[in-house]
Symmetry: C2
Subunit: 697 residues, 2 copies
């Protein structure tokens, strides 16, 4: 990937002297950003632009070329790629649109491009993108026009949309925050976000990465990369609704992913998900300050009202407002002008007109061992104390950067003063509002305290796969969409997952014998393809107390089976011991197209249906991660034992989650499974799975 | 209130020629804002400032004065107010600090001020404020320095903090949105937010009102005013945490209010609560556009990525993306340059370079009858198509203002272009991000569709108060903190609230007789002061099935009563028919210091404890409002009949809520009450209150 950003020569393909020619903007950028390498222009009409001759084809370029940036009609691309290959160009940025985002015809073109690239060992970015920018060497390939008003900064950007990426660059310029590298990846046919992210996380110039994605190519690899990252990763994953999917497909050919899975996966691997420009900028600013390592905050404000608002936000984000030392407060109070303010934390310095003392207060406070960071509100209106206030901004920046703890500075001033302070302090994040400042400090703290367990930390059990594979092969052979309950139970048993005692019966006599062996009362259930929702059609009989009831039950279920299309010859019925005790919990799993196996858990009944009280993880999960899942489920307070009920056996439940997690990783043939309900017995007594459904891929 | 904003003459009290004198800023403002009336300065040292003589006292002013703005030490205020009274000044703005926000001494001073004001019929604003600004006549009394960079706009502002109010003015100036009137009310000793809001809602120049409040003086009156308002009211109520309360008390002497009550009350009366500067500005912009009267939105964007992001936001806020007519789409497609984009809604016009057509698309679309508003994203970078894009901004503004439907315009461009467009289009709200634009349109739509039922619409039942008052008088006489269950039940019965059948027993014989009359099984409960949590101490016996069990039960409860301090002579026990059926619901009520009687409802058990699934209203509530409460409670889906259970008797439940609502309004002596559980029987069979607790004030 590095070669995309540090080529020593670039060919811009598709340039003509016409004023409507868009590729000219690429040439303009290489000059505007002061690209340090050599530039060659290519276009069939020849001529020259900006003092560079335009070669008719790539082959006409006399020297070696490291990177080609191409903006020509889609149909010309295969030929041009061939020429790149012959010329020995190994990196190509394809900015042309008109590929898979338009439908099948474009797809065919894309396949050709991939074939040619493989043949010559070419890696390419795009098509349908605006390419790359590297602030370090002035490489800048966008055809979308930018002036180089950007500072260098710690952030590198990967964007699936040139427009959204460009908007972020503009915002960073407005805030004077800067960036290091930028890549727009469009249809990401060859190079995707993972390739670039992996590189950015190793890249010396990059201290944080931002991704704008409309689709996720390989969520699992994204997570693996994020697990290893010590740098913050921010991501705006858009395309979250039906209407968005329609437009995203025609924009970058992206399909949408399940929102719940994306949210869970990002949290699990420590990617911070942002949802719009405001939350993006706040997160970028958060990581532009020294890290907030704890909860202990000091708030200092030039306005009492802002002190109140800052205290609201500090509480909202879980900060502790440490008390100031008493003698320090008395010293400061003695220096107030009118003496009409009583001091504490937050400290209202509206009545202090000694700017040196203000400086000293910030400096002394940040140096205190019991303070992890500060939120400072500086109000001034550019009329009185203008120079003092401006100079204070610079001093606060110094205190922050030297002290290695964050000072989130809120400037409450006029637009003109904002502009001036931003110009004076490139790269130093400032805030307009205490709420945003507190949120940024909280993001920084949460990043410092992130507690990630990677896939690797999931324990692997030794499981003999022979039986499950035999069951699945047999089911595939009969083209089953779903396993029978008995088959599902056998697979679960093979993974040592505890089941409510059960048996199968092929006759009323067998059913009676099974029931007597299991002990009354029992439940009886139909099995088979025709009964996906077996309780809705009367296929589940509960609470059968006598042999006679069981016999009668068998006959009823057998008659029911006779009504299905398949009319099975053998009428096999499940007989199961009733379990009355225990909280009802479910554990489910499914194969996600982008993230692979995921696992869900929640409490049964209304908690899920009404409150959506479910925890989700990408599998495999460690015991620690499974425990965190139940920490997230609000209703799992029930399992801790409320209102005199004994606490449930959470340990066994966590063990079941781990086993199911391994099961769905081992057996991707199972598209979806659902253990529901699982009865969680009192602590020490385990859990019992009562019912299970396994759907095949 | 009008007289505060339209005085023909103003005296500024506390001016001295010293450069540190803060009152000089008031004089500066009157000049800077071009105040149209006469100005008089007052200060003991005399001299002159800005060509105005400084009179030693108010009495020395030769002419009549309509308004005095005072910034002198707190201790001088009583004397100055006296002089104002003698001079016939009827409106005073007290900007000095050092009153109740500092503690008891300041409280005494405040009492003196109120007495003097009453004596002379003076109304005053403050103390501890920055006073008023009126853009119409240039009246501007803040001592905090502003340049008059403000446009006139439709918004008027009431702020309890000068700093926060001033920050909003700066932001409005940066956005070039303007305001009409501004009042900072500080400790609001005489004039409060309600007085000013009531005036603003009648004031011709004000089309929307914003309030920043640290405390709510009289929540009930605020609601009454809001109920009558046809103008949008936005409020930032800060001071929401313990730490905030500490600083707010010393800032404006405000106490905090219950967050839940404030949220519920604001929603109930249609006040839109904002929480920070960002949400404030979005709401102000929302009401600066023509109203969004429905859900049908068209999205047009110059960037595909922004179209995706806009579609995400449109879905998030519940908008419907109306399809464009097919022939219209084909017409536009035929005009695209590269022809590489397929069109729909959202419409990606990244490939359209005819700006007149862009204009026509917006104009034609907004005119369509099936479109309620538009979200337009305009990307340009100030290099190519700069003039076309600038001129398009102006044209879109015209389309929006003339079409009387909103066009939320997102400008995605450089800081310089933003600045220029804002300067060119004062008062026209523009957005940086589709998310903010969609949110603003949603706020406007929700305001248009607000469905408010005021206190007046609550039906009043004829209730004979004699018995409840007798019970309360008797309870007060014995200094009870809480009524007995029997007393509570009698009050409920008096309000025709249905109870599970019950009786009282003073002996085991009486208990057995009662139980037989009620029908087995019965419950028995101790009563009396010593048993607030009666089930925790074994004071509740359930499911007694025989006479013998009831007799034994009476003896056990009587023995339990003997163990209390009071050792009552008469051992009265409640006997109640067991109710097994029905969903458990609770209805509660309490007296809130700021909003008066409030009423709560929710489902029993974990739904409340774990999910906080409670609806709250300020009483009295109408049937419509009570119905809305159960619409808000997620768990009330249970009452609709899920999983084969019959639906519950919601009508009776709503009737109970209304009766309790009237009860707590009628009987403010009851500080808190809790009907818990209420058993909701199947539809048509009513509800039964099983237990009730009433706590006295």
């Amino acid at each position: 990937m590095k070669d995309f950003f540090y080529p020593e020569s670039v060919a811009v393909v598709g340039v003509s002297p016409s004023p409507n020619n868009l590729a000219r903007a690429i040439v303009y950028h290489l000059s505007e950003f002061r690209y340090t390498g050599k530039i060659y222009l290519v276009g069939p009409k020849g001529g020259s632009f900006m003092d560079h001759p335009i070669y008719p084809t790539i082959s006409h370029i006399p020297d070696q070329v490291d990177l080609a940036a191409i903006l020509t009609p889609a149909s010309t691309l295969p030929e041009i790629m061939e020429m790149c290959g012959q010329k020995g160009i190994k990196r190509v940025v394809i900015e042309s649109a008109g590929f898979s985002e338009l439908g099948n015809e474009g797809k065919g073109l894309e396949e050709q491009l991939v074939t040619i690239a493989r043949k010559y060992g070419i890696r390419f970015i795009g098509p349908n993108c605006i390419g790359v920018i590297n602030k370090e060497n002035g490489l800048a390939t966008p055809f979308m026009p930018f002036r180089n008003t950007f500072n260098s900064g710690p952030l590198s950007i990967i964007s699936q949309s040139g427009g959204v990426g460009g908007a972020l660059l503009n915002e960073l310029a407005s805030e004077n925050l800067g960036f290091n590298k930028f890549a727009s990846i469009g249809n990401k046919l060859d190079t995707d976000e993972n390739d670039l992210l992996e590189y950015f996380l190793e890249d010396k110039g990059t201290e944080a990465a931002f991704l704008y994605l409309e689709g996720i190519a390989d969520g699992r690899r994204l997570m693996e990369i994020a697990f290893r990252s010590s740098k913050p990763i921010l991501a705006h994953k858009s395309n979250t609704s039906e209407a968005s999917t329609r437009i995203a497909r025609s924009h970058t050919g992206s399909l949408s992913a399940s929102e719940e899975v994306v949210n869970a996966a990002f949290r699990q691997c420590g990617i911070h998900r942002v949802t719009d420009m405001n939350s993006t900028l706040t997160a970028i600013k958060a990581h532009g300050l020294p890290p907030m390592r704890g909860d202990r905050l000091a708030v200092i404000s030039r306005s009492g009202g802002h002190a109140v608002v800052a205290a609201d936000s500090a509480a909202k984000y879980g900060f502790v407002l440490q008390p100031f030392p008493e003698d320090f407060l008395r010293m400061v109070e003695s220096r107030l002008r009118a003496g009409v303010i009583r001091l504490g934390n937050p400290m209202d310095l509206g009545d202090l007109y000694e700017f040196d003392l203000f400086h000293q207060i910030v400096s002394d406070t940040l140096a205190r061992e019991d303070i992890d960071g500060m939120l400072v509100v500086l109000n001034y209106n550019g009329i009185f104390f203008q120079d003092d206030s401006r100079s204070l901004v610079g001093k606060i920046k110094e205190i922050c950067l030297q002290g290695k703890k964050p000072v989130a500075l809120c400037l409450v001033t006029t637009g003109e003063e904002w502009h001036l302070n931003r110009r004076n302090h490139p790269g130093f994040p400032m805030f307009t509002d205490p709420e945003e400042a507190a949120k940024a400090l909280a993001l920084s703290r949460d990043f410092c305290h992130r507690n990630i367990t990677s896939f690797k930390e999931a324990e692997t059990l030794a499981v003999d796969q022979q039986k499950p594979l035999a069951i699945l092969t047999e089911a595939e052979a009969r083209e089953a969409r779903q396993l029978t309950t008995a088959e599902s139970f056998e697979i679960l048993a093979n993974y040592s997952i505890p089941l409510a005692p059960w048996g199968q019966a092929r006759s009323s006599q067998e059913a009676a014998t099974q029931a007597a062996a299991l002990g009354f009362p029992v439940a009886m259930k139909v099995m088979g393809e025709g009964f996906i929702h077996k309780s809705d059609v009367g296929g589940v009989l509960l609470n059968l107390n006598t042999e006679a009831e069981v016999r009668e039950g068998y006959e009823r279920l057998a008659a029911l089976m006779q009504t299905t299309e398949s009319k099975p010859k053998e009428k096999v019925v499940l007989v199961q011991k009733m379990v009355f005790e225990g909280h009802e919990v479910f554990v489910g799993a499914k194969q996600d197209p982008s993230f692979g196996p995921v696992i869900l858990a929640g409490l049964g009944g209304l908690y899920v249906e009404v409150f959506g009280d479910v925890a989700l993880r990408v599998a495999p999960v460690s015991a620690a991660e499974a425990l965190k899942m139940f920490g997230e489920i609000h209703g799992s307070q029930l399992l801790k034992g409320v209102r005199g009920q004994p606490p449930g056996d959470l340990e066994t439940l966590i063990d079941i989650v781990q086993r199911i997690s391994q099961l769905v990783c081992d057996l991707p043939q199972i598209q979806e499974l659902d253990l529901n309900p699982i009865k969680v017995l009192p602590k020490g007594q385990g859990c019992l799975v009562v019912d299970c459904r396994m759907v095949l891929a």
